[in-house]
Symmetry: C2
Subunit: 136 residues, 2 copies
DNA sequence: GTAGATGCAAAGTATTTGCGACAAG
DNA sequence: CTTGTCGCAAATACTTTGCATCTAC
């Protein structure tokens, strides 16, 4: 997280309104994966007049500019997180909802290989693991 | 596909109504991954009086009984397919929407290993690859 | 100054549900 | 018979959009 979202917006030529600055700040400071509603709550604490429509429009915009990514985990609303240089996947605790981020280079490599095997260039992928904590 | 969905229902003690038989039959004969709307269309051709609410209720029921699985591919409606003994993942052509099923034992193994590394038992997972056909 | 952003409420989608009528076991 | 299912329409949940107003550049 070397650069803030606000800086990324400037770098990419995204117009910065007050509302966007607040949303950018909240997302930059979030280490979890809030859904739009939760993001709206957090943002409302800073400026209670921001509408949820703006939040929806902004996350969508940021997603298009490669600033945020959207996740659609099992049976829920869409959740967002800041897109960082380092790609990672998610391990979700189905009991608590806790989300652990992980990277596994080997899996990454194998995915590319599978795509190639079928004559495809891999442009994106989604890997989610759902687990329960081991009783130890 | 040794057993039809109807047979699975009997085996699992799911009450079989006319509507469920039709939905079961259509799903058994589908080799793609229809969404509820598409399934409703197919079912309607056989019995035009079946309501979409029943289709929703039935796929949900079948999912609970482990007869169908639900997929939530990128930015779309939920899609269903018959759950077969042989697990597989999906490679989705982002241009055409075509879906290729694949299995990679090595990736499966690695997933389990990742979960274990964090102290979890893997109970489910989702792997989707999105690609574009290579120009050859 | 002007193109694009915002807030609001209304409209869209996808899916679920209450309820009286009906059918399977 | 009795419990669970069906069809219908209304309700819900999430997300998008039209429009008049406002704001960043």
């Amino acid at each position: 997280m070397s650069e803030t979202i606000e800086q990324k917006c400037i770098a990419k030529g995204v117009k910065l309104t007050d509302q966007r600055k607040i949303i950018a700040k909240v997302m930059s400071e979030s280490n979890d994966h809030p859904d739009v509603d939760e993001l709206y709550n957090r943002v409302s604490k800073i400026d209670s007049k921001i509408s949820i429509a703006t939040v929806y429009r902004t996350v969508k915009l940021f997603e298009e500019y490669g600033i945020l990514t959207k996740h659609e985990f099992k049976g829920g609303k869409a959740r967002y997180e800041e897109l960082s240089e380092s790609h990672h996947d998610h391990l979700i605790d189905i009991k608590s909802g806790e989300i652990i981020e992980f990277v596994d280079q080997e899996i990454e490599k194998l995915q590319k290989k599978v795509a190639e095997k079928y004559g495809y260039d891999l442009v994106d992928h989604k890997l989610e693991l759902y687990g329960v904590k081991k009783k130890s």
